[in-house]
């Protein structure tokens, strides 16, 4: 991979993280920690992988993207705005009454959002339907689903994992933002989910494990997943909740919390200057 590509992606991710914090600060509401942990995955997909046309968001042949962990939508909105799906000025309206940017993604209100999401655990099922639709319509798009790790506790996820293997949907790729935390604390303290990888493997998916903040690793894994035409793929991406903002790392109160003006200043300084 070209060094230039990686540097560009790193810079884009940095800008998206800045957007996220400013959006949540202005909105007075939102989930910074989960948005920051998934920021590099969203950046890699939207700025390198996905076959999309920002000027034609409903293009039938586009790749689909589902943010199953819909509460991390600020980073998705920031990416869509920077790609030109809608003006960046919209970002300031997050979660407000007149805004196109709902508290969780709404496929009918926001250009570029392929799926309404926010109720956890449902992205893989919807992605399965989209992947099967490609087969029925003889189109060659891929479907990317980004889930949290905590939402794997939902039973419907495993229903969908079983069915996807039955239907050999090679165009379905699930990336798990494995930051190890959920709303109420660590995965280990809340659920019996871990270890995750042996369970995924046992379900028959093509499985990879990567550092979800390392662009060459993310893109390599995505390309390998795309090469598997007869088997759905999972990428378990190890991430850090709050990545990029030192004082948010290791403090799960930032799952859903609004930075003060001073905290925002410190966070933006840590991320480095704007454009």
């Amino acid at each position: 991979m070209k060094q230039n590509t990686v540097e560009k992606l790193e810079n884009t991710a940095r800008l998206l993280r800045r957007d996220v914090l400013e959006m949540i600060f202005h909105a007075g509401d939102g989930h910074p920690g989960p948005s920051l942990s998934v920021a590099d995955i969203v950046t890699a997909l939207y700025f390198e992988t996905l076959r999309i046309k920002p000027a034609d968001p409903d293009w039938p042949e586009r790749d689909r993207f589902i943010l199953s962990k819909g509460h991390a939508c600020p980073v998705l909105y920031a990416a869509l705005a920077r790609l030109g799906f809608f003006p960046q000025t919209e970002l300031a309206g997050l979660r407000s009454l007149s805004s196109m940017l709902q508290g969780h993604p709404d496929m009918n209100k926001t250009p570029g959002i392929d799926t309404t999401s926010g109720s956890l655990g449902n992205g893989v099922s919807i992605g399965l339907g989209m992947a099967l639709a490609a087969r029925m319509k003889n189109l060659d798009y891929s479907v990317f689903v980004v889930t949290g790790d905590g939402e794997l506790e939902e039973g419907v996820v495993w229903e969908a994992l079983m069915a996807a293997v039955k239907y050999r949907v090679g165009n379905l790729i699930v990336i798990i933002d494995n930051n190890g935390m959920q709303s109420g604390g660590s995965l280990g303290s809340i659920s019996g989910l871990e270890p995750i990888m042996p369970k995924l493997k046992a379900f028959g998916w093509h499985c990879q494990e990567i550092d979800g903040h390392d662009f060459p690793e993310i893109l390599h894994a995505v390309n390998e997943a795309l090469s598997k035409k007869q088997q759905p793929s999972i990428v378990l991406a190890h991430t850090v909740k709050g990545q990029g903002v030192p004082f948010m790392i290791g403090d799960n109160s930032w799952h859903k919390r609004v930075p003060t003006e001073e905290e925002l200043r410190v966070a933006l300084q840590a991320l480095g200057g704007g454009e």
């Binding site: 799926t115 099922s125 399965l128 339907g129 319509k137 039973g155 229903e159």
Partner: protein, 317 residues
Amino acid sequence: MGNTASTRVAVTEALLELAEKDPGIVLICSDSLLVVKAQPFIEKYPDRFIDVGIAEQNAVGCAAGLASCGLKPFYVTYAGFITMRACEQVRTFVAYPGLNVKMIGANGGMGAGEREGVTHQFFEDLGILRTFPGMTIVVPADASNVKQAVKAVANMEGPAYIRIGSGRDPVLPDPGEPFKLGEARILRNRGNDLALFANGFILPRVLAAADRLDRLGIKTMVVEVHTLKPLDRNTLLKVLKKTKAAVTVEDHNIIGALGSAMAELIAEEFPVPLVRVGLQDVFPRSGESEALLDHYHLGVADIVQAAQTVLRKKGKI
């Protein structure tokens, strides 16, 4: 009670006809293919049939994904597994985005669940779905009407639910006008003493009650409200203004469906006496369909009694 015909087989027959003309028709099951005897569809359109296993939430999510890509999925299983097991998926991923997913729920009503007992008797489906904005809800009276309803919802945009029965479903005698989605249908018009509003497989009993009332000198209108949502308010209000008394009859909990919808309409628009016949907010038992309906006060005599009660309230007797 009279002839029967399978509302379940009617679904597969309608889908076969639809699929021939429309390549977007997809059948989704959750190990429920035998519910509607779907084998002829599967044999003819193997690539347009999806079975996700006993996994209703996944089935609805999968249907949403298919619909968002322009296909027309029909998801068929038991009514309660759609509307209760997968309730939130229906609400958030089908109704909220307004996706073109059609759902068909079997064993709709206590009578259709009959011997299976409460786990397979579904008398809450309509009430639950009625609270979801944008949901079209159809409660056809018999197999022929199910077939027409399936075709009608296939030709409309957006989410819809059709309630079907056990496969041993009574045939509606002399429906008169053809089924028209969204329009209440006047099945009998003998006079203006009161109106009997009903839907579903209970209708033969309602017609029998109307006949008995006729012999007692009480002249009724029988109105089939097969489309529970959107409610045909205009027709219903016209009838109410003529009869100034209403009885609703439904195989559903008394809370949430036709009786509730009519009570809301009557209270807000044209207050007149109303009596609701239905399952009186109790869990029923296993049993043979007709015996169950009689036992839980959905008998012809109960409907006649309700009519007499409402007439007393009206000051007529």
